[in-house]
Amino acid sequence: MTTNPINTLIVLSVIITLFMLTTSRILVLVRSAAILGVLLGLFPFFIHHGAFSIHTIVLSSLGIIVKGVVIPMLLFRAIRSATNFRETRPHVGFSLSIVCGILITLISFGIGSKIPPSLFLPSETMISLSICITMCGLFLIMARSTALAQVIGYLVLENGIFTFGVSLPTTQSLLVELGILLDLLVGVFVMGIVIHQIHREFDSISTDALEALRE
């Protein structure tokens, strides 16, 4: 049952995603996001049962490089520039976050099992995984207050979408490319502009400070 590498990957991804909900350190969060990115990037290699097309190889390597190397490096740089803010500062406590994470996992596997498996190539579990990761990403965005943690939340969310794309038959894999584009967008947009701006303006990267801008 677990000799199947896909299942191992899925279990590891779920564990890492849940782990991200529990950690209080930004550095750990970034590292986990990188590992998650690499894990998910490995999926296309296994899904097509060794029938590697150029398409798959390029796609997967691109995903791994972007998520496992480029974006974490950008994030690390951003952390270095804002040295005082290494904790994620939760809106929702870490214990409650784990409980929510467990609930999200259960619910998404419940939803995933309702979807007719024929629609998707490898298994319905991939869909469950993508829902799980997406929801956890949303949760991270909601539950953490620093911009960096929220960016990572967004990244996790995007990872979920990527997983969804991977689990579709290859003919529809346009979605996957779109996902990767979205990745790049996140990296460039957020790193370069937003964090720097927030930090300069408010001397903090907590997005709660942005509330001062409302009318």
Partner: protein
């Protein structure tokens, strides 16, 4: 090879004889990592014998609950041992649903110890009792979920699923549950990073503070019960993590014993390399272990099939 009923007596007797040895191994490992010679391997035995030969002083605050509580701890711990299966040797008594009795005996031992502590009226022991029950309320679901996951993968609602002779556990499940149960070993046996058994500050202890007012044979018996509990949990973890079985039941026993020594050494290594966790971080650790157990159960459920 069929297993005979008297095979189950082997591990049972062995547990009574060898339980304190595991504590000795942990202490030795810690001594090795700090570059000391350390106490002799048999020191826990000496301690127990010493305590048994003394007499006790009871607080004037205590009531009969104090003494009967200690008896309950012993009886429940022995009950756990009766139900515990070891490899091909099996357990002395095994029936469908014994895992519930197992979990409940675990809980009642803990509850009795807490009452013993509360009976002295000491504020420190009240603090320890509160923490003990708080952590165990979080640990109980993990034990139950892990055991149920093993049962489900073995298709038998009994503790004998733990030793995996009916159906070997899938590797992923073993790893996840092994990890979750290892956390439980640390919690239930009051090891670092949850509790520090060697501290001398009453405010920071959990298990040691509960038996603060016990002395003489009572203390010795409780220490003995605690070592048996450590034995029981290391048997379980060792069996979950060793997927292979020897042909003969003695070989099987040897594998399990080897696994237990490994568990004890690992505990020693963890204790040498970590500090006690902040109290607020312990629920997170436990919830994390709970997440592992749930994922394992999902895995068994075929969610990842």
């Amino acid at each position: 090879m069929t297993s005979l009923w008297w095979h189950a007596l082997f591990p049972f007797v062995l547990a009574f004889a060898g339980a304190p040895l595991l504590l000795g191994i942990i202490v030795k490992t810690k001594a090795f990592f700090t570059g000391r010679v350390g106490a002799p391997l048999l020191q826990p035995y000496y301690d127990i014998v010493k305590n048994l030969s003394k007499t006790s002083i009871y607080s004037t605050t205590t009531s009969p609950i104090f003494k009967l509580g200690i008896v309950t701890v012993l009886a429940a711990t022995c009950g756990l041992l009766v139900l515990l299966p070891v490899g091909k040797c099996g357990s002395l008594i095994s029936f469908e649903g014994d895992i519930i009795l197992f979990v409940m005996l675990l809980a009642i031992a803990r509850f009795a110890l807490v009452l013993v502590a509360l009976d002295t009226g000491s504020a420190f022991e009240g603090l320890g009792a509160s923490r003990e029950l708080f952590f165990s309320a979080l640990a109980e679901p993990i034990i139950l979920l892990s055991l149920v996951a093993l049962c489900k993968s073995g298709h038998i609602f009994s503790l004998s699923a733990v030793c995996g002779i009916h159906a070997p556990h899938p590797g992923g499940v073993s790893l996840l549950i092994g990890a979750a149960l290892f956390v439980i070993v640390l919690v239930e046996n009051s090891r670092i990073p949850i509790d520090d058994p060697t501290t001398h500050l009453e405010l920071t202890m959990i298990h040691e503070v509960l038996i603060l007012d016990c002395s003489g044979p009572d203390l010795g018996l409780l220490e003995y019960a605690a070592s048996i509990k450590l034995w029981i949990f290391s048997v379980i973890v060792a069996q979950v993590l060793t997927p292979f079985h020897a042909a003969s039941f003695l070989g099987d026993l040897a594998i399990t014993l080897g696994g237990m020594v490994a568990v004890a050494v690992t505990i020693g290594i963890v204790e040498s390399s970590m500090a006690r966790l902040r109290l607020t971080a312990i629920p997170q650790l436990l919830l994390g272990a709970g997440a592992l157990a749930i994922i394992a159960l999902l895995l068994v459920n075929g969610a990842f099939a």
